[in-house]
Symmetry: C2
Subunit: 217 residues, 2 copies
């Protein structure tokens, strides 16, 4: 049942891209994985032969039940490792993605369980992304992008996009998980904002406000 690195990355990619609608376009997956379109078509046929995906030629791929199970397992392992890197090794939240990307593929079920336990059964990773349970269930807190809020709203940061640039900037601005903030100004012109975080006010572009997810508090 355990598969290899490529298989795992394809399944994870399909999972990530699918949420929007139904089938994922091969070209979309190819772009995500940085692999040629033709190569992806070929690989997809192998995955279909192993019953991990459904493939209707020219119409896109989707995960089967077992494909989805594996994809979610990889996401769980990825996020547990990210947690480990921050909590045990003291990495910053913007340094962990690529490391976890490799660790996730060499993780036995036993290790996964022990990691989870050692970390105190965390519900979310260092970016606020939910860590699915061993049974593949997600426990999602609802959130919306900060960019959608208005002057006067008091909100708490629930999740930040796992993107190096976003994470670095957010950290610099003092915008970490669970931080409370108040929208002080919002420019009609370009959607940028001034928000109050702790004692000080910060200017933030719409671009970054769209990558920071919050809920009212």
């Amino acid at each position: 049942m355990a598969k290899n690195q490529s298989t795992e990355d394809y399944l994870k990619g399909i999972y990530k891209l699918q949420h929007n609608g139904k089938g994922v376009a091969t070209s979309e997956l190819a772009k995500h994985l940085k692999i040629g379109d033709g190569s992806v078509t070929g690989m997809i046929k192998k995955l279909a032969a192993k019953r991990l995906v459904h493939h209707t030629p020219y119409k896109g791929v989707s995960l089967t039940a077992s494909g989805k199970r594996l994809a979610v397992q990889m996401i769980r392992r990825h996020r547990l490792w990210e947690m480990f890197l921050v909590k045990f090794l003291g990495y910053r939240w913007d340094e962990i993605h690529d490391e976890a990307e490799r660790l996730e593929h060499v993780t036995s079920q036993e290790m996964e369980r022990r990691l989870d336990k050692a970390l105190g059964y965390p519900k979310v990773d260092p970016h606020g992304d939910p860590i699915p349970t061993m049974n593949g269930e997600f426990d999602g807190t609802a959130y919306s992008p900060l960019s959608e809020f208005e002057v006067g709203d008091r909100v708490k940061i629930i999740r930040v996009d796992d993107d190096q640039g976003v994470l670095q900037l957010a950290a610099t601005l003092g915008l970490g998980l669970n931080k409370n903030l108040t929208v002080k100004e919002k420019m009609k012109f370009d959607g940028s904002m001034i928000v109050k975080v702790g004692p000080k006010e910060q200017f933030i572009s719409q671009r970054i406000a769209k990558s920071i997810f919050v809920r009212v508090v």
Copy 2:
């Protein structure tokens, strides 16, 4: 400079087998890696082209300076991970080898340094094998197999062979690292012994006594 899993396992294998004399026989390496002789010859030629090993056809392989550097780095990573698995995840010392065997290949230099630090810069792994420094230096305490000692000798366990069977049995008998023990009896006939460990006396075969390494205390 970083290489892939196969390369790393070949170099580590050559390093392990070389200590005896000079060149390592291809068949010896093949047996160690559980790979066909012909495949090993082929791979060795690639490693030689990359200047990681010296290969005199029909006369064996040996590591170049950079090959040795990489081999020792893998050993360091392997042993740091074994330490992590025991100290942070609570694995038993007989369960960790195969897990570390995979983790060692996905470890960046940054991770290696942070792991080392988080573990408190350990000098030996959970089996008593020395952990080389970042510069590749080993800090070896001298030891001899328990089987060479005689009645009356008081010794301390410094190292136990990283072999599942040996480790499981040793643990059952209460023979862990740094434990002190006294040789109570030694049978001429088959080299088996009775040793006192803490309050109780244990019978141990020569086979196991040869896999437990100690020094006088």
